[in-house]
Protein backbone atom coordinates (compact mmCIF):
# COMPACT_ATOMS: atom_id res chain seq x y z
CA UNK A 1 0.00 0.00 0.00
CA UNK A 2 1.53 3.30 -1.05
CA UNK A 3 0.42 6.67 0.17
CA UNK A 4 -2.01 7.92 -2.41
CA UNK A 5 -2.21 11.39 -3.85
CA UNK A 6 -5.32 12.28 -1.97
CA UNK A 7 -3.73 11.53 1.39
CA UNK A 8 -0.69 13.59 0.50
CA UNK A 9 -2.90 16.48 -0.48
CA UNK A 10 -4.65 16.39 2.85
CA UNK A 11 -1.41 16.32 4.81
CA UNK A 12 -0.04 19.08 2.66
CA UNK A 13 -3.15 21.15 3.32
CA UNK A 14 -2.68 20.54 7.02
CA UNK A 15 0.96 21.56 6.99
CA UNK A 16 0.37 24.65 4.84
CA UNK A 17 -2.41 25.68 7.17
CA UNK A 18 0.00 25.21 10.01
CA UNK A 19 2.80 27.31 8.64
CA UNK A 20 0.87 30.09 6.96
CA UNK A 21 -2.69 30.85 7.76
CA UNK A 22 -3.03 29.81 11.38
CA UNK A 23 -1.12 29.81 14.59
CA UNK A 24 0.56 26.58 15.66
CA UNK A 25 -2.21 26.42 18.25
CA UNK A 26 -4.58 25.08 15.60
CA UNK A 27 -2.40 22.10 14.71
CA UNK A 28 -2.38 19.13 16.99
CA UNK A 29 0.32 16.51 16.76
CA UNK A 30 -0.25 13.28 18.64
CA UNK A 31 1.40 9.93 18.43
CA UNK A 32 1.24 6.44 19.77
CA UNK A 33 3.23 3.25 19.65
CA UNK A 34 3.41 -0.33 20.77
CA UNK A 35 6.59 -2.34 21.24
CA UNK A 36 5.65 -5.98 21.59
CA UNK A 37 7.95 -8.92 22.21
CA UNK A 38 6.52 -12.40 21.82
CA UNK A 39 7.73 -15.96 21.95
CA UNK A 40 5.88 -19.29 21.76
CA UNK A 41 6.70 -22.53 23.52
CA UNK A 42 8.99 -24.78 21.47
CA UNK A 43 7.90 -25.69 17.95
CA UNK A 44 4.63 -23.72 18.21
CA UNK A 45 3.56 -20.93 15.89
CA UNK A 46 0.81 -18.54 16.87
CA UNK A 47 -0.27 -15.03 15.76
CA UNK A 48 2.88 -14.70 13.65
CA UNK A 49 5.24 -15.72 16.47
CA UNK A 50 7.41 -18.81 16.81
CA UNK A 51 9.82 -20.09 19.45
CA UNK A 52 12.40 -17.39 18.69
CA UNK A 53 11.68 -14.12 20.50
CA UNK A 54 10.36 -11.54 18.06
CA UNK A 55 10.15 -7.78 18.61
CA UNK A 56 8.67 -6.55 15.33
CA UNK A 57 5.66 -8.73 14.47
CA UNK A 58 3.09 -6.63 16.38
CA UNK A 59 5.12 -3.47 17.07
CA UNK A 60 4.07 -0.20 15.49
CA UNK A 61 4.56 3.56 15.62
CA UNK A 62 2.18 6.28 14.45
CA UNK A 63 1.94 10.04 14.20
CA UNK A 64 -1.29 11.92 13.80
CA UNK A 65 -1.52 15.51 12.64
CA UNK A 66 -4.81 17.27 12.82
CA UNK A 67 -5.68 20.84 12.06
CA UNK A 68 -8.78 22.96 12.39
CA UNK A 69 -9.32 24.68 9.08
CA UNK A 70 -12.36 26.48 10.43
CA UNK A 71 -14.79 26.13 13.34
CA UNK A 72 -16.51 23.30 11.53
CA UNK A 73 -13.87 21.81 9.25
CA UNK A 74 -10.76 19.87 10.28
CA UNK A 75 -8.20 17.72 8.48
CA UNK A 76 -6.53 14.69 10.03
CA UNK A 77 -3.73 12.51 8.71
CA UNK A 78 -2.26 9.52 10.48
CA UNK A 79 0.93 7.85 9.27
CA UNK A 80 1.74 4.46 10.69
CA UNK A 81 4.61 2.00 10.36
CA UNK A 82 4.22 -1.64 11.33
CA UNK A 83 7.10 -3.88 12.32
CA UNK A 84 5.55 -6.68 10.30
CA UNK A 85 6.02 -4.48 7.21
CA UNK A 86 9.58 -3.36 8.07
CA UNK A 87 8.14 -0.13 9.54
CA UNK A 88 7.34 1.11 6.03
CA UNK A 89 5.24 4.16 6.68
CA UNK A 90 1.75 4.28 5.19
CA UNK A 91 -1.12 6.71 5.40
CA UNK A 92 -3.39 4.80 7.68
CA UNK A 93 -5.92 7.62 7.77
CA UNK A 94 -6.38 10.86 5.87
CA UNK A 95 -9.72 12.53 6.19
CA UNK A 96 -11.64 15.76 6.36
CA UNK A 97 -14.16 16.10 9.11
CA UNK A 98 -17.06 18.55 8.89
CA UNK A 99 -19.31 19.41 11.81
CA UNK A 100 -22.80 19.74 10.38
CA UNK A 101 -24.11 20.51 13.85
CA UNK A 102 -23.13 19.94 17.46
CA UNK A 103 -24.26 16.33 17.25
CA UNK A 104 -23.70 15.49 13.56
CA UNK A 105 -20.29 15.00 11.93
CA UNK A 106 -19.46 14.04 8.36
CA UNK A 107 -16.08 12.45 7.63
CA UNK A 108 -14.72 12.00 4.10
CA UNK A 109 -11.51 10.26 3.05
CA UNK A 110 -9.74 7.28 4.52
CA UNK A 111 -10.67 6.44 8.07
CA UNK A 112 -11.20 3.43 10.26
CA UNK A 113 -14.14 1.21 9.33
CA UNK A 114 -16.28 1.24 12.51
CA UNK A 115 -16.73 -2.53 12.29
CA UNK A 116 -16.48 -3.93 15.83
CA UNK A 117 -16.31 -2.34 19.29
CA UNK A 118 -12.53 -1.83 19.44
CA UNK A 119 -11.95 -1.44 15.68
CA UNK A 120 -11.43 2.30 15.72
CA UNK A 121 -8.77 2.24 18.44
CA UNK A 122 -7.30 -1.16 17.53
CA UNK A 123 -3.74 0.09 16.97
CA UNK A 124 -3.66 2.21 20.13
CA UNK A 125 -2.71 -0.44 22.69
CA UNK A 126 -2.68 2.18 25.44
CA UNK A 127 -6.48 2.50 25.27
CA UNK A 128 -7.27 -1.06 26.34
CA UNK A 129 -6.20 -3.67 28.88
CA UNK A 130 -5.00 -6.37 26.46
CA UNK A 131 -1.61 -6.59 24.73
CA UNK A 132 -3.67 -6.78 21.51
CA UNK A 133 -7.45 -6.95 21.05
CA UNK A 134 -8.84 -10.52 20.80
CA UNK A 135 -7.58 -11.99 17.53
CA UNK A 136 -10.63 -14.14 16.79
CA UNK A 137 -12.67 -10.98 16.29
CA UNK A 138 -10.10 -8.35 15.36
CA UNK A 139 -7.74 -10.14 12.96
CA UNK A 140 -9.82 -9.15 9.95
CA UNK A 141 -7.95 -8.29 6.74
CA UNK A 142 -9.66 -4.94 6.25
CA UNK A 143 -9.75 -2.09 8.72
CA UNK A 144 -9.85 1.11 6.77
CA UNK A 145 -12.56 2.56 4.62
CA UNK A 146 -12.14 4.95 1.70
CA UNK A 147 -15.42 6.77 1.70
CA UNK A 148 -17.77 8.79 3.86
CA UNK A 149 -18.99 8.35 7.40
CA UNK A 150 -21.79 10.18 9.17
CA UNK A 151 -21.82 10.16 12.96
CA UNK A 152 -24.71 11.24 15.13
CA UNK A 153 -24.27 11.54 18.86
CA UNK A 154 -26.72 12.49 21.56
CA UNK A 155 -27.86 12.14 25.14
CA UNK A 156 -31.28 11.06 26.30
CA UNK A 157 -32.60 9.73 29.59
CA UNK A 158 -29.17 9.22 31.13
CA UNK A 159 -27.78 7.39 28.06
CA UNK A 160 -25.27 8.63 25.53
CA UNK A 161 -25.99 7.29 22.09
CA UNK A 162 -23.96 7.20 18.90
CA UNK A 163 -25.02 6.10 15.44
CA UNK A 164 -22.45 5.72 12.64
CA UNK A 165 -23.40 5.22 9.02
CA UNK A 166 -20.53 4.52 6.63
CA UNK A 167 -20.26 3.97 2.90
CA UNK A 168 -17.26 3.33 0.67
CA UNK A 169 -14.73 0.69 -0.26
CA UNK A 170 -11.96 -1.22 1.49
CA UNK A 171 -8.88 -3.05 0.35
CA UNK A 172 -6.94 -5.63 2.28
CA UNK A 173 -5.03 -8.87 1.89
CA UNK A 174 -6.43 -12.35 2.42
CA UNK A 175 -4.37 -15.49 1.72
CA UNK A 176 -1.80 -13.34 -0.06
CA UNK A 177 -4.40 -12.02 -2.48
CA UNK A 178 -6.07 -8.64 -2.79
CA UNK A 179 -9.33 -8.54 -0.87
CA UNK A 180 -11.61 -5.80 -2.22
CA UNK A 181 -14.92 -4.67 -0.81
CA UNK A 182 -16.90 -2.38 -3.08
CA UNK A 183 -20.12 -0.60 -2.09
CA UNK A 184 -19.46 -1.31 1.54
CA UNK A 185 -22.29 -0.01 3.71
CA UNK A 186 -22.32 -0.21 7.46
CA UNK A 187 -24.53 0.97 10.28
CA UNK A 188 -23.61 0.77 13.94
CA UNK A 189 -25.37 1.93 17.06
CA UNK A 190 -24.05 2.31 20.58
CA UNK A 191 -25.61 3.38 23.85
CA UNK A 192 -23.73 3.88 27.09
CA UNK A 193 -24.26 5.23 30.57
CA UNK A 194 -21.83 5.55 33.48
CA UNK A 195 -21.09 1.82 33.53
CA UNK A 196 -22.78 -0.02 30.66
CA UNK A 197 -22.04 0.08 26.92
CA UNK A 198 -24.09 -1.80 24.37
CA UNK A 199 -23.18 -1.87 20.68
CA UNK A 200 -24.45 -3.54 17.55
CA UNK A 201 -23.37 -3.38 13.92
CA UNK A 202 -24.55 -4.61 10.55
CA UNK A 203 -22.50 -4.28 7.38
CA UNK A 204 -22.65 -5.40 3.77
CA UNK A 205 -20.08 -5.39 1.02
CA UNK A 206 -19.51 -6.66 -2.50
CA UNK A 207 -16.44 -8.79 -2.04
CA UNK A 208 -13.79 -9.95 -4.54
CA UNK A 209 -10.66 -11.95 -3.67
CA UNK A 210 -8.55 -12.78 -6.70
CA UNK A 211 -6.92 -16.01 -5.50
CA UNK A 212 -5.42 -16.90 -8.91
CA UNK A 213 -3.11 -13.89 -8.54
CA UNK A 214 -2.20 -14.59 -4.93
CA UNK A 215 1.37 -14.51 -3.63
CA UNK A 216 0.54 -17.57 -1.56
CA UNK A 217 1.13 -20.89 -3.41
CA UNK A 218 -1.84 -22.73 -1.85
CA UNK A 219 -4.23 -19.88 -2.49
CA UNK A 220 -2.98 -19.56 -6.04
CA UNK A 221 -3.49 -23.30 -6.62
CA UNK A 222 -7.04 -22.89 -5.35
CA UNK A 223 -7.69 -19.94 -7.68
CA UNK A 224 -6.23 -21.86 -10.61
CA UNK A 225 -8.34 -24.86 -9.61
CA UNK A 226 -11.52 -22.78 -9.89
CA UNK A 227 -10.33 -21.69 -13.36
CA UNK A 228 -9.84 -25.37 -14.33
CA UNK A 229 -13.40 -26.14 -13.20
CA UNK A 230 -14.66 -23.39 -15.45
CA UNK A 231 -12.47 -24.60 -18.37
CA UNK A 232 -13.89 -28.12 -17.92
CA UNK A 233 -17.37 -26.68 -18.44
CA UNK A 234 -18.55 -26.34 -14.84
CA UNK A 235 -19.11 -22.62 -15.14
CA UNK A 236 -21.84 -22.33 -12.51
CA UNK A 237 -19.86 -24.28 -9.92
CA UNK A 238 -16.74 -22.19 -10.55
CA UNK A 239 -18.92 -19.10 -10.08
CA UNK A 240 -20.38 -20.48 -6.87
CA UNK A 241 -16.95 -21.18 -5.39
CA UNK A 242 -15.08 -18.05 -6.48
CA UNK A 243 -15.19 -14.91 -4.36
CA UNK A 244 -16.08 -12.58 -7.16
CA UNK A 245 -18.48 -9.72 -6.56
CA UNK A 246 -20.23 -11.77 -3.90
CA UNK A 247 -22.12 -10.34 -0.96
CA UNK A 248 -20.29 -10.33 2.34
CA UNK A 249 -22.08 -9.55 5.60
CA UNK A 250 -20.84 -8.61 9.07
CA UNK A 251 -22.95 -8.77 12.20
CA UNK A 252 -21.73 -7.93 15.68
CA UNK A 253 -23.06 -7.37 19.21
CA UNK A 254 -21.22 -6.39 22.33
CA UNK A 255 -21.92 -5.53 25.92
CA UNK A 256 -19.44 -4.05 28.39
CA UNK A 257 -19.82 -3.29 32.08
CA UNK A 258 -17.12 -1.13 33.67
CA UNK A 259 -17.46 0.50 37.07
CA UNK A 260 -13.76 1.58 37.07
CA UNK A 261 -12.93 -0.93 39.83
CA UNK A 262 -13.69 -3.95 37.70
CA UNK A 263 -15.08 -4.70 34.25
CA UNK A 264 -16.65 -7.51 32.30
CA UNK A 265 -17.42 -7.56 28.61
CA UNK A 266 -18.34 -9.82 25.71
CA UNK A 267 -18.59 -9.47 21.95
CA UNK A 268 -20.02 -11.81 19.34
CA UNK A 269 -19.38 -11.42 15.60
CA UNK A 270 -20.30 -13.22 12.40
CA UNK A 271 -18.81 -12.82 8.93
CA UNK A 272 -20.38 -14.54 5.96
CA UNK A 273 -19.81 -14.43 2.23
CA UNK A 274 -22.67 -16.02 0.33
CA UNK A 275 -22.21 -17.86 -2.95
CA UNK A 276 -18.48 -18.60 -2.47
CA UNK A 277 -16.36 -21.49 -1.18
CA UNK A 278 -15.92 -19.54 2.06
CA UNK A 279 -17.82 -20.73 5.11
CA UNK A 280 -19.44 -18.56 7.74
CA UNK A 281 -17.13 -17.50 10.55
CA UNK A 282 -18.45 -17.05 14.05
CA UNK A 283 -16.35 -15.60 16.85
CA UNK A 284 -16.80 -14.35 20.39
CA UNK A 285 -14.82 -13.41 23.43
CA UNK A 286 -15.53 -12.75 27.09
CA UNK A 287 -13.15 -10.64 29.15
CA UNK A 288 -13.09 -9.83 32.84
CA UNK A 289 -10.62 -7.78 34.85
CA UNK A 290 -10.10 -5.56 37.86
CA UNK A 291 -8.12 -2.39 38.60
CA UNK A 292 -5.94 -2.21 41.69
CA UNK A 293 -4.36 1.22 41.52
CA UNK A 294 -1.93 1.02 38.62
CA UNK A 295 -2.41 -2.72 38.08
CA UNK A 296 -5.06 -4.25 35.80
CA UNK A 297 -5.08 -8.05 35.75
CA UNK A 298 -7.57 -9.63 33.35
CA UNK A 299 -8.70 -12.95 31.91
CA UNK A 300 -10.02 -13.35 28.36
CA UNK A 301 -11.63 -16.35 26.68
CA UNK A 302 -11.95 -16.36 22.87
CA UNK A 303 -13.65 -18.82 20.56
CA UNK A 304 -13.67 -19.15 16.77
CA UNK A 305 -15.70 -21.50 14.60
CA UNK A 306 -16.06 -22.06 10.88
CA UNK A 307 -18.25 -24.96 9.78
CA UNK A 308 -16.46 -26.65 6.88
CA UNK A 309 -19.88 -27.62 5.48
CA UNK A 310 -19.91 -28.57 1.81
CA UNK A 311 -22.31 -26.46 -0.23
CA UNK A 312 -23.31 -26.79 -3.94
CA UNK A 313 -23.55 -30.59 -3.69
CA UNK A 314 -25.91 -30.82 -6.68
CA UNK A 315 -23.45 -28.90 -8.86
CA UNK A 316 -20.55 -31.02 -7.58
CA UNK A 317 -22.50 -34.21 -8.38
CA UNK A 318 -22.59 -33.09 -12.03
CA UNK A 319 -18.80 -33.58 -12.21
CA UNK A 320 -19.20 -37.29 -11.50
CA UNK A 321 -21.91 -37.70 -14.13
CA UNK A 322 -20.06 -35.68 -16.77
CA UNK A 323 -18.28 -38.62 -18.38
CA UNK A 324 -14.82 -37.15 -17.71
CA UNK A 325 -11.98 -39.61 -16.98
CA UNK A 326 -12.08 -40.84 -13.33
CA UNK A 327 -8.82 -39.02 -12.44
CA UNK A 328 -10.24 -35.71 -13.68
CA UNK A 329 -13.51 -36.30 -11.80
CA UNK A 330 -11.56 -37.07 -8.62
CA UNK A 331 -9.33 -34.00 -8.97
CA UNK A 332 -12.14 -31.56 -9.76
CA UNK A 333 -14.58 -32.93 -7.14
CA UNK A 334 -11.76 -33.05 -4.62
CA UNK A 335 -11.05 -29.40 -5.22
CA UNK A 336 -14.70 -28.34 -4.96
CA UNK A 337 -15.21 -30.32 -1.75
CA UNK A 338 -11.76 -29.87 -0.21
CA UNK A 339 -11.71 -26.08 -0.59
CA UNK A 340 -14.81 -25.92 1.60
CA UNK A 341 -14.00 -28.70 4.08
CA UNK A 342 -10.52 -27.36 4.75
CA UNK A 343 -12.05 -24.32 6.48
CA UNK A 344 -13.44 -26.47 9.26
CA UNK A 345 -12.15 -24.65 12.26
CA UNK A 346 -12.94 -24.69 15.96
CA UNK A 347 -10.50 -23.33 18.48
CA UNK A 348 -10.38 -21.33 21.66
CA UNK A 349 -7.79 -19.12 23.29
CA UNK A 350 -7.49 -18.29 26.94
CA UNK A 351 -5.33 -15.34 27.93
CA UNK A 352 -4.18 -14.05 31.29
CA UNK A 353 -2.93 -10.48 31.04
CA UNK A 354 -1.55 -7.82 33.34
CA UNK A 355 -1.32 -4.10 32.65
CA UNK A 356 0.75 -1.70 34.74
CA UNK A 357 0.33 2.06 34.25
CA UNK A 358 3.86 3.38 34.59
CA UNK A 359 2.90 7.00 34.16
CA UNK A 360 0.14 8.94 32.43
CA UNK A 361 0.58 8.04 28.74
CA UNK A 362 2.63 4.88 29.19
CA UNK A 363 1.74 1.34 30.19
CA UNK A 364 3.59 -1.94 30.24
CA UNK A 365 1.81 -5.24 29.82
CA UNK A 366 2.46 -8.94 29.94
CA UNK A 367 0.24 -11.79 28.84
CA UNK A 368 0.25 -15.49 28.30
CA UNK A 369 -2.15 -17.15 25.83
CA UNK A 370 -3.00 -20.77 25.31
CA UNK A 371 -4.65 -21.85 22.08
CA UNK A 372 -6.59 -25.14 22.05
CA UNK A 373 -7.66 -26.47 18.68
CA UNK A 374 -10.55 -28.96 18.53
CA UNK A 375 -9.88 -29.84 14.89
CA UNK A 376 -6.10 -30.05 14.66
CA UNK A 377 -4.00 -30.67 17.79
CA UNK A 378 -0.91 -29.48 15.91
CA UNK A 379 -2.31 -25.97 16.08
CA UNK A 380 -2.28 -25.95 19.88
CA UNK A 381 0.14 -23.30 21.08
CA UNK A 382 1.26 -21.22 24.03
CA UNK A 383 2.42 -17.64 23.56
CA UNK A 384 3.97 -15.20 26.03
CA UNK A 385 4.22 -11.48 25.27
CA UNK A 386 5.62 -8.34 26.85
CA UNK A 387 4.54 -4.93 25.60
CA UNK A 388 5.11 -1.23 26.10
CA UNK A 389 2.32 1.09 24.93
CA UNK A 390 2.60 4.84 24.83
CA UNK A 391 0.69 7.89 23.63
CA UNK A 392 1.73 11.51 23.44
Amino acid sequence: MKANKFSLAVLLTASITASQAYAVDNVRINGFGNVVMGVTSSDDTFLGYDDNPDFSNESLFALQVSSDISDKLSATAQVLGRGSEDFDVNFEWAYLSYKLSDSLTLVAGRSRLPLFTYSSSLDVGYTYHWVTAPSVVYNVPFNNLDGVKLSKTGYAGGWDYMVDVAFGQFKGTTLGAENRGENTALISGQISNETFTFRSVYGRTTNTIDLANSEDATAQALGNGFDSLEAAGFVDLADSLRIEEDTGEFVGFSVMYDNFDYFIGAEHTEIKTTNTFANDDEAYYVTVGARFGKWTPALTYENFESSGDVKYTAQIAQIASSGLPPEAVAALSGLAIGSQQSQLSDYSIITASLRYDVTSGMAIKADISKRSDDVDDNQDATLARLAVNFVF
Binding site: R112, V124, S151, D357, S360, A363, V391
Partner: protein, 137 residues
Protein backbone atom coordinates in the same frame (compact mmCIF):
# COMPACT_ATOMS: atom_id res chain seq x y z
CA UNK B 1 5.87 -10.33 46.89
CA UNK B 2 3.05 -9.17 44.63
CA UNK B 3 0.77 -8.85 47.63
CA UNK B 4 3.26 -6.62 49.38
CA UNK B 5 3.62 -4.41 46.30
CA UNK B 6 -0.16 -4.12 45.94
CA UNK B 7 -0.57 -3.32 49.63
CA UNK B 8 2.08 -0.62 49.50
CA UNK B 9 0.54 0.94 46.39
CA UNK B 10 -2.91 0.98 47.98
CA UNK B 11 -1.41 2.50 51.10
CA UNK B 12 0.48 5.15 49.13
CA UNK B 13 -2.61 6.19 47.18
CA UNK B 14 -4.72 6.34 50.36
CA UNK B 15 -2.13 8.56 52.03
CA UNK B 16 -1.82 10.86 49.03
CA UNK B 17 -5.60 11.31 48.79
CA UNK B 18 -6.00 12.26 52.43
CA UNK B 19 -2.98 14.57 52.33
CA UNK B 20 -4.42 16.69 49.51
CA UNK B 21 -6.87 19.51 49.83
CA UNK B 22 -10.28 19.77 48.24
CA UNK B 23 -10.74 20.74 44.63
CA UNK B 24 -12.92 23.70 43.63
CA UNK B 25 -14.66 23.93 40.25
CA UNK B 26 -14.67 27.58 39.14
CA UNK B 27 -16.29 29.77 36.48
CA UNK B 28 -16.42 33.47 35.58
CA UNK B 29 -18.33 35.54 38.19
CA UNK B 30 -20.82 36.51 35.49
CA UNK B 31 -21.70 32.89 34.68
CA UNK B 32 -25.16 32.31 36.14
CA UNK B 33 -25.84 28.86 34.67
CA UNK B 34 -26.99 26.18 37.12
CA UNK B 35 -24.09 23.76 36.86
CA UNK B 36 -24.11 20.44 38.74
CA UNK B 37 -21.40 17.77 39.04
CA UNK B 38 -22.95 15.78 36.18
CA UNK B 39 -22.76 18.78 33.82
CA UNK B 40 -19.11 19.38 34.80
CA UNK B 41 -18.28 15.73 34.08
CA UNK B 42 -19.96 15.85 30.66
CA UNK B 43 -18.19 19.10 29.75
CA UNK B 44 -14.74 17.80 30.81
CA UNK B 45 -15.23 14.50 28.98
CA UNK B 46 -16.21 16.32 25.77
CA UNK B 47 -19.74 14.92 25.78
CA UNK B 48 -21.22 18.38 26.00
CA UNK B 49 -19.87 21.66 24.69
CA UNK B 50 -22.36 23.98 26.39
CA UNK B 51 -23.38 24.96 29.89
CA UNK B 52 -26.93 23.97 30.93
CA UNK B 53 -28.11 27.48 29.94
CA UNK B 54 -26.92 26.94 26.35
CA UNK B 55 -23.85 29.17 26.37
CA UNK B 56 -20.58 27.74 25.07
CA UNK B 57 -18.35 26.00 27.63
CA UNK B 58 -14.56 26.19 27.44
CA UNK B 59 -13.07 23.62 29.86
CA UNK B 60 -9.50 24.10 31.09
CA UNK B 61 -7.29 21.33 32.45
CA UNK B 62 -4.13 21.58 34.52
CA UNK B 63 -1.13 19.75 33.07
CA UNK B 64 -0.20 17.72 36.13
CA UNK B 65 -0.17 17.87 39.88
CA UNK B 66 -2.50 17.44 42.81
CA UNK B 67 -5.58 19.29 41.53
CA UNK B 68 -5.81 17.16 38.34
CA UNK B 69 -5.71 13.87 40.22
CA UNK B 70 -8.24 15.16 42.76
CA UNK B 71 -10.56 16.46 40.05
CA UNK B 72 -10.35 13.29 37.95
CA UNK B 73 -10.87 11.13 40.98
CA UNK B 74 -13.69 13.06 42.69
CA UNK B 75 -15.55 14.70 39.82
CA UNK B 76 -14.90 12.42 36.84
CA UNK B 77 -14.84 9.31 39.03
CA UNK B 78 -11.74 7.77 37.43
CA UNK B 79 -7.97 7.82 37.77
CA UNK B 80 -5.79 10.22 35.78
CA UNK B 81 -4.46 7.25 33.76
CA UNK B 82 -8.03 6.25 32.87
CA UNK B 83 -8.84 9.81 31.79
CA UNK B 84 -5.69 9.81 29.64
CA UNK B 85 -6.72 6.50 28.12
CA UNK B 86 -10.23 7.83 27.43
CA UNK B 87 -8.85 10.90 25.63
CA UNK B 88 -6.32 8.84 23.66
CA UNK B 89 -9.22 6.84 22.33
CA UNK B 90 -11.14 10.00 21.41
CA UNK B 91 -8.12 11.61 19.72
CA UNK B 92 -7.09 8.57 17.69
CA UNK B 93 -10.62 7.76 16.61
CA UNK B 94 -11.26 11.35 15.56
CA UNK B 95 -14.10 11.65 18.09
CA UNK B 96 -12.81 14.61 20.03
CA UNK B 97 -9.99 16.67 21.48
CA UNK B 98 -9.22 17.05 25.18
CA UNK B 99 -9.62 20.38 27.02
CA UNK B 100 -6.80 22.89 26.73
CA UNK B 101 -4.11 22.50 29.39
CA UNK B 102 -2.39 25.17 31.42
CA UNK B 103 0.49 24.86 33.87
CA UNK B 104 -0.82 26.08 37.22
CA UNK B 105 -3.78 26.99 39.42
CA UNK B 106 -2.88 30.68 38.93
CA UNK B 107 -3.13 30.33 35.13
CA UNK B 108 -6.54 28.66 35.46
CA UNK B 109 -7.82 31.51 37.64
CA UNK B 110 -6.35 34.03 35.21
CA UNK B 111 -8.17 32.45 32.25
CA UNK B 112 -11.44 31.96 34.09
CA UNK B 113 -11.69 35.51 35.43
CA UNK B 114 -11.15 36.88 31.93
CA UNK B 115 -13.42 34.56 29.94
CA UNK B 116 -17.15 34.23 30.53
CA UNK B 117 -17.18 30.79 28.86
CA UNK B 118 -14.30 29.25 30.78
CA UNK B 119 -14.63 26.55 33.42
CA UNK B 120 -11.73 25.15 35.39
CA UNK B 121 -10.72 23.66 38.72
CA UNK B 122 -8.07 24.52 41.31
CA UNK B 123 -6.98 23.48 44.76
CA UNK B 124 -9.72 24.99 46.99
CA UNK B 125 -7.05 26.77 49.04
CA UNK B 126 -6.00 28.78 45.96
CA UNK B 127 -9.42 30.20 45.05
CA UNK B 128 -9.50 34.01 44.80
CA UNK B 129 -12.36 36.52 44.79
CA UNK B 130 -11.99 36.95 41.00
CA UNK B 131 -13.84 33.73 40.20
CA UNK B 132 -17.07 32.02 41.18
CA UNK B 133 -16.93 28.62 42.86
CA UNK B 134 -19.47 26.17 41.39
CA UNK B 135 -18.80 23.55 44.07
CA UNK B 136 -15.98 22.06 46.11
CA UNK B 137 -15.36 18.33 46.47
Amino acid sequence: MLKRTLASILLTSAVSVSALAEVAVIVHPGNSAAIDADAVERIFLGKKSQFPDGSEALPINIESGGAVDEFNNKVLGRSTAQVKSFWSKQIFTGKGTPPKEVASDASVIDLVKNNKNAIGYVDAANVTGDVKVVFTK
